[in-house]
């Protein structure tokens, strides 16, 4: 990590979660504690991956960052502002396809800017830029229904980034894709993160994906959902590598993979 970047990383995080809990009322005075005491921070330009077994509440935490769910207690702050409901400063990419099928790719990407009053010419330029960034220039005038699954997720990423969010939230965005498309998309995401300097929080249960993408992994355990540990893949030396096999080749990769697999197994034994 360059000294400047190191200093930036040590700055106060732009997103902080402070003692987040969520419980559900089961009636008869009983409550189910789904998430309890989740606290961590995300720094500017960081790729933070929330990893954990299914049922640990990682998606719920992400949805709280988006403002789509509210915690029972605790506080979320983005750049000193309390998160209260969804907003354009926190764009979200879902696992399910969310392209607006009645619009061309270009109009999909322009949608966020249009509803936020960005002038038409600027809208077009920015849409072109982000469509090029995700490699869909040739398909700018196609309808999403004509595209493959991976391409539709690229439309969703371009649409979210073109809207200029401070935070890109991704909820298992590549979970529905086949293995080959998935690692192409992972490499594309690293390139995008490098070129746009966007802060990204991503939820996944794919260990390989987490190690490849993350500057920091927040590992959550379940029953109830809470942060078990934070793992920084130090072996990458703070560099972002865009070819997956090069990351796997690095010393220390398999060690961290083993460590996380053990954590996963411990969680699995809780059933």
């Amino acid at each position: 990590m360059s000294p400047a970047k190191e200093a930036a990383a040590e700055q106060a995080p732009i997103l902080t979660l402070d003692g987040i809990s969520k419980s559900f009322d089961l009636g008869k005075g009983k409550t189910l504690e789904a998430i309890t005491g989740v606290s961590f921070g995300v720094s500017r330009n960081e790729i933070c991956v929330i990893l954990g077994p299914s049922g640990c509440g990682k998606s719920t935490v992400l949805r709280m960052m988006a403002g789509l769910e509210t915690p029972t207690s605790g506080d979320l702050m983005l750049e000193g502002r309390h998160i209260d409901g969804p907003g354009r400063d926190r764009g979200m990419v879902f696992q399910a396809y969310t392209s607006f099928d009645w619009m061309s790719v270009r109009r999909n990407v322009e949608f966020g800017m249009k509803i936020n009053g960005v002038p038409a010419s600027e809208r077009r330029d920015r849409a072109d830029h982000y469509i090029r960034l995700v490699g869909l220039t040739k398909f700018a005038d196609a309808y999403p229904t004509q595209l493959s699954g991976g391409m539709r997720q690229r439309v969703a990423i371009a649409r979210t980034l073109a809207n200029g969010p401070e935070l890109l939230l991704m909820d298992e965005p590549f979970g529905a894709l086949d293995a080959e498309t998935r690692w192409h998309m992972q490499e594309l995401l690293v390139e995008i993160a490098e070129s746009t300097r966007t802060t990204i929080v991503m939820v996944t249960h794919d260990i390989e994906e987490a190690i490849f993408l993350a500057d920091k992994i927040v590992f959550m355990s379940r029953h109830p959902g809470r942060v078990k540990c934070e793992i920084v893949p130090e072996f990458k030396n703070g560099k972002r590598i865009t070819e997956k096999e090069k990351v796997i080749d690095l010393d220390g990769y398999s060690e961290i993979e083993r460590q996380i697999m053990r954590l996963m197994r411990e969680e699995g034994a809780k059933d």
Partner: protein, 274 residues
Amino acid sequence: MSESVSAPPRRRHFLEVRKPVSKRQAVLSAIAIWVVFFGIWAAASASGMVNELLVPAPQKVLFTIYDLFAERAFAADVLISIMRVLIAFLLASIVAIPLGVMMGSFPAVEGIVNPFVSAWRYLPAPSFIPILLMWFGTGETPKLALLFIGVVFLLITLVMDHTKNVRHELVETALTLGANRYVTVRSVILPAVLPEIVIAMRQMLAVTWTYLVIAEIVASTTGIGAMMMRARRFLHTDEIMAGIIVIGALGLIFDLLFVRLHRQLFPYIQEKRR
């Protein structure tokens, strides 16, 4: 993999589970079923097996259709029937579509309107005919009112259900892009549900035709249904059957128009099946 030369071509059965048939076979099948239908009808008439008075020969019915249009100003009756259907259906759509979309988007609106609508939906519209006649007399109003009542509640429910089925991720995407409630409904939920609304309208237009015939048979001196009731008085079965065929043809034409409209309005849905 090399191509096998020894394997004989698999015999294609007439009945293949869910294998689409060729265009040619589809057209031939469609013609064949109608040829069989008219053939049996014509044969039964020609052989004298059926009473000529009750079941006129198909060629006689076809001539009657021509004669009705050419000599007896039947077009005016057809036109007034079409106008009744279109006006009542338009009014029902103007009420039902915005209301259904609102109910499907906002549970608060559904909570107010649905208990009312779902009760009315189960009331057979023809049960209102006596009271509609008392209120509105014998003009156009009671007919339009019957058609409206018969269609509007079903259409509201269909539009509401389709609106509720708009995937929640689309709504959440709009919200995280910074859309307010108004923009979310107008720019995401409405265009997402519109293809389904057009299909629902197509189904409900067929229902409107049903109520039209009831209205015209019970309480009208004009329109296709009234013509058929007049014909009954003079034992003109050929005219009754001509009326039935004209109503069927009109229904078919409107249905095809809706299919065309759907294709025109939503080209992206066609692209899906390449």
